[in-house]
Symmetry: C2
Subunit: 333 residues, 2 copies
Amino acid sequence: MGTSMQEAAEALKSVLRTLKGRKAAVLGHMRPDGDCIGSQVALCRMLTAAGVDAVCVNRDRVPPNLSAYARGVTFIRGSDYGENDRLAVAVDCADASRIGTELLARFPEGLLGNVDHHASNPGYAVHNAVVKDAAATCHVLAACAEMIGLEVDAATAKALHLGILTDTGRFSYSSVSPELLELTARLLRKGADPAEANFRVFEQESRGKLALTQRFLASLRFHDGGRICSGEIRQADYAATGTTKEDKEGLVEFPRSVEGVEVAVLLEEGADGIRGSLRGRDPRLRLDQLAGKLNGGGHMLAAGFNMLGCSLDRDRDRIIGQVIEHVRERAGK
Amino acid sequence: MGTSMQEAAEALKSVLRTLKGRKAAVLGHMRPDGDCIGSQVALCRMLTAAGVDAVCVNRDRVPPNLSAYARGVTFIRGSDYGENDRLAVAVDCADASRIGTELLARFPEGLLGNVDHHASNPGYAVHNAVVKDAAATCHVLAACAEMIGLEVDAATAKALHLGILTDTGRFSYSSVSPELLELTARLLRKGADPAEANFRVFEQESRGKLALTQRFLASLRFHDGGRICSGEIRQADYAATGTTKEDKEGLVEFPRSVEGVEVAVLLEEGADGIRGSLRGRDPRLRLDQLAGKLNGGGHMLAAGFNMLGCSLDRDRDRIIGQVIEHVRERAGK
């Protein structure tokens, strides 16, 4: 589904109206990223400023490098969440299942709101503010906040900027419009700080992350004449470098940035199977559809999948084979 | 020296007035980067649109990944430049020597114009448009073009955007102001394309560059409790990976982005000595002054030096020792 920014603002207004005198839980997705945390913090702060008792609830923890943004906002881990009187608003979740099934089950009456920018979002809530051509969920929230007149203080502006920054690859994707830059300029005037944000998000790598990066680069292989490049991470890599799966963030950009590569693949072998990330540069390759064939989903240029019970040694070639086949099909060859 | 943007526009106007009926050579610095090429292309196109016969002259070649920006503009290598009737305008050159001494000697009457944003620029031309707090030389040119009413077509807008993009580290430095984002938005409306620019500049790495990156990461060492991190590249690394010194671009960002690192150092051993790059995050450390002690110069957060006749095996420890000493002094410890 998709709505215009104006319709999204109306949907958000309806959410606010329903929340009058009620309590809210702002839900993010599993393994939250900058746009997820940024949207949660921003919406939670806007709701609080509007007089609504609001908290953020996530299956997973706030990544340490983003914790500064969560300051002043209550974040509760799904496993610790025991209330039953909050109405749920999901942000940055392409599908309700992205919240995590156990956490989602705490809201048997369903979700009140759904603020997102993923094209595949089916509109799973009562009020859906899903703007498909927005650059980030934080883009949707920032634009709607201006239309509705919600309060955006410095901390909220920083959170909104965080999501825009991370979901545009530092203002490098085709989703970056003049209007987005002007909106971002207004967030800077309200207190967002590009240098601070970049420092927090991109410039506090651990030495372990550097070592993991080295290992990942060494694992890169090229397929189908170089149009596909895959790299892998095993549990042993995390152990040897003192890193965790959060540290794989951004690694897929290395193969994606090699000349001639149309699809970059990161395969991560965990205890329960293989988790894959797909990145491309041509929307016609429809990586969301490729991910769909591999038990996943996402955007046309960035998607992911999860293959339970698979192992790299046994299933890598089969997975890469499916990637090759899909890319050839979509490229019309 | 430094001028306000208004004074810079006046200086540029004077350059244009003098160039009426004359011919211009737009000079960039040695080993040109995105802001240098972007400024040269933009100024050359603006001059041409204003009826001035203009070419770009550089000691070194246009980096291959930026050649698309140079299309439609005449770039001449310094060694091939044999004319004597062009008036010279330097862009993005902190000092006239950055043009290269041989090329500079072709203009014995000195330089007519100097468009730049380096704090250390002494104002070496007749008309100096040097805005110290501008994010890029392209920022100066874009802002002045609006004030003066110079023509900015799509190709010029793309060139201006290129310089702003690269000299702000993809909109991540403290030089990124709301006004700069709004100016960039207007460049997008005129035809600049963030996705295309990022693709050209950052996403066409060669496989050799990946291999060089791996080697560089393996060379990283931490000094003085981790506040300094250095890495090195030898001629053999280029040979083994099929890369050239242009490929070292950006590598220093890896050590700069490690938690706790205050100064990142890249040491490159060439046939004639050691070339060093310094990157930091605290302007108080004054890397321009540190580079000055090592036969170099630059910005407070990004500087470089050139130590002829030095070798890594013999002189590395001494150089790092000077870095440590300078950082301790500046940090007041």
